[in-house]
């Protein structure tokens, strides 16, 4: 967007080169972590080769991939969904159920769940996308709520109700089961994140992605150009949902089970938190927001149990021992004072350095784009 024609060829080439090399180096470093003995006191619970730390990092990567899929919805297509957790939970629960009920191995089960997921998200997406803006948020919330009720009610004794579902380990390769194999699960999560990043970049850069961005800006104009916004939005919706379903399956393996929390509205709200803290409209922002969220959540839970917190007077102790209070407050502060989140702030700082080189506050503008969409299509939004 901001690469102006005045840039000479050399710095531009160098920048592209650096832009490709840095992520590659990062992935290589992350892949080597289980073999290294690194300490990051205050950030990670222990040395990087220990199962506890690897599990936390793997969880952060799964959440980062899930946040990337949410970025497709909110950042690219401007769809504010409150039911994205439904697809995550669908993947986790259905994989467990298919393996134990149909007695299938991991690979055929995964393929079956993905196939079912395409049909499922296609059907629900087609219904939800009949409305836009706030009503769309409400419908997705309602569907997710129905899913959450179903999972908790445990029909046919397959979901385990409040207790949750245990991973049927008989059907999973031995290399992915047990604390000793957390390394393998970590690599699986890393691979899933890299794959998701490439997939999301591809979808966003594809024709459908461009049309979806155009629809976000001005749906009427896209319509006039002879394209069908509904189909494009549905395609993006299905892509985001299928990625979430895939991540749900990784999450099932990683945690050796699924609990009702992963289908709840709270999880979707957490995703919204991650994407907004990271910066709406930025892929790296979604990843950074998710990692920050997962690490902060873990650290704050540890803080809540710390000895010195218990000795504080009540007005200090109570807020400090509630991780969600601190995260919620942080979120409010980011929305109010850092429009564009982390990514927007980085862009702004960079913009301050090379003055005049391009768009500042991308995230903030994107949020307003989502907003315009709602204003253009008020209650109901069905246009003649």
């Amino acid at each position: 967007m901001s690469t102006s024609a005045t840039d000479t060829a050399y710095p531009q080439g160098a920048r592209a080169w650096v832009g490709r090399l840095v992520p590659l180096a990062l992935v290589v470093l992350l892949a080597c972590l289980p073999l290294l003995n690194l300490h990051l006191p205050g950030v990670l619970p222990g040395p990087t080769y220990t199962p506890g730390t690897l599990h936390l990092l793997a969880l952060a990567m799964v959440m980062a991939a899930l946040a990337l899929s949410y970025h497709l919805l909110l950042g690219v297509a401007g769809l504010l969904s409150f039911g994205h957790a439904l697809y995550f939970g669908f993947g986790a629960y259905l994989l467990g159920i298919v393996m134990s009920e149909l007695e299938l191995g991991l690979v055929p089960s995964v393929l079956l769940v993905l196939l079912a997921g395409v049909a499922f998200s296609l059907a629900l997406g087609a219904v939800s996308l009949r409305v836009t803006g706030i009503p769309f948020a409400m419908v997705t919330l309602a569907f997710a709520q129905a899913g959450s009720v179903l999972v908790r009610r445990d029909p046919g004794r397959v979901t385990g109700g409040e207790e949750g579902l245990r991973l049927p380990t008989d059907y999973v390769p031995a290399a992915l089961v047990g604390v000793a194999d957390t390394r393998n699960l970590y690599w699986l999560a890393l691979a899933a994140l890299v794959l998701t990043f490439l997939l999301v970049s591809w979808v966003q850069g594809s024709r459908a992605g461009h049309v979806a961005e155009a629809v976000r800006e001005n749906e009427l104009r896209v319509r006039v150009l002879g394209m069908r916004p509904f189909l494009v939005k549905l395609a993006i919706f299905v892509a985001a949902s299928v990625i979430a379903i895939g991540m749900g399956m990784v999450h099932l393996l990683l945690n050796s089970g699924a609990v009702p929390h992963i289908v709840s509205a709270e999880l979707t709200i957490s995703l919204l938190l991650m994407v907004v803290i990271g910066g709406v409209g930025s892929r790296w922002g979604a990843v950074a927001g998710a990692v920050l969220y997962v690490l902060l959540n873990q650290r704050l839970t540890v803080l809540a149990q710390a000895e010195w917190v218990h000795d504080l007077p009540a007005p200090l102790r109570i807020p400090l021992s509630e991780p969600m209070f601190i995260l919620g407050t942080l979120f409010v502060l980011v929305v109010m004072f850092l429009p564009g989140g982390l990514a927007g702030t980085v862009t702004r700082l960079r913009g301050a350095r090379h003055r005049g080189s391009g768009d500042q506050r991308p995230g903030a503008e994107r949020l307003e784009d989502v907003d315009d969409d709602q204003q253009a299509a008020p209650v109901g939004g069905a246009r003649p």
Partner: protein, 291 residues
């Protein structure tokens, strides 16, 4: 037959509580285009403070109950007004960010209530009369349902009178209709915004106290659970419509009660199905303006 009568009264009683939450949501959305995710928190705070006052003054006395209603309404009003002034109003005209701020406030406040009052439900009992039942057409209807219906009826009446008869009511109605025009006429809509939030807070606070008697307990999740149903009621009724909210509240609550009793406890699912059907046939809700 007696079961049907009982379900009817419990349904309308529950509908009264839904209305108390949904009416504020609907007015706020209608005027400001803000979907207030912190609305359930106003309710929980009202319920908790009402509970505290009632247990100090004697939970089983009428004075205690009246004081808890008063304190609940006041707590909701103050919290809502502060929310609007300190958080929502600063993000003027940035609707998505206003929604996000209320989402964050909701999360933080629920966690704070968890810390102050604990996650376990606090059981509550009102004056003895409210725990007893009245015999109507062969059904024994718990008396607290009548109190809920009465209070919700008074709130509806009060809101209608306020909106129809007062100057600020007129500004709010005009603002819901066409905000740009009201602003262009040189009227400061910001006071109206705060007022609408305060009114919503009063209704939610009252709803919190009554809900704690209806369900028999107070917990930080009480507000969040009711909020989801209030959202559904608001959408079914038509965003921004007070009458729509009143009709939809009763409709949703009745459907939920009857489905729970006759269709093997599927009340919550039935409500979601109703929402889907309404959105597919009338995307703007029952009383929403133009489809």
């Amino acid at each position: 037959m007696s079961t049907v009568i009982l379900l009817l009264f419990t349904g309308v009683g529950l509908g009264a509580i839904y209305f108390l939450v949904a009416s504020g949501l609907s007015l706020i959305y209608g005027l400001m285009h803000v979907l207030n995710f912190a609305h359930g928190v106003f309710l929980s705070l009202g319920a908790f403070l009402g509970f505290e006052v009632a247990s100090r003054l004697g939970a089983t006395t009428w004075t205690g109950f009246a004081a808890s209603l008063l304190v609940g309404a006041l707590a909701g009003a103050v919290f809502a007004a502060l929310t609007e002034r300190l958080l929502v109003q600063r993000l003027y005209e940035r609707h998505i960010e206003q929604v996000l701020v209320t989402v964050g406030l909701g999360l933080a406040a629920v966690a704070l209530f968890d810390g102050i009052w604990g996650t376990d439900p606090k059981f509550i009992s009102g004056p003895p009369w409210m725990g007893r039942t009245t015999h109507i057409l062969g059904a024994n209807v718990p008396n607290d349902r009548f109190v809920a219906i009465l209070v919700a009826g008074l709130v509806l009446l009060g809101m209608v009178l306020f909106l129809q008869r007062t100057r600020y009511g007129m500004i709010i109605r005009a603002g819901v209709e066409n905000r740009a025009m009201v602003t262009a006429l040189g009227i400061d809509v910001r006071t109206a915004f705060t007022l609408v939030f305060t009114i919503g807070g009063i209704a939610a606070g009252l709803g919190g106290v009554l809900a704690s008697h209806y369900f028999g307990y107070v917990s930080p999740l009480l507000g969040q659970t009711l909020l989801i149903f209030a959202f559904i009621v608001t959408v079914i009724g038509g965003l921004g419509s007070l009458t729509g909210a009143a009709i939809a509240s009763v409709l949703v609550a009745l459907l939920q009660q009857f489905a729970n009793y006759y269709l093997w406890g599927t009340g919550d699912l039935a409500v979601v199905v109703l929402l889907a059907v309404v959105l597919l046939t009338r995307p703007s809700g029952l009383m929403g303006r133009r489809a």
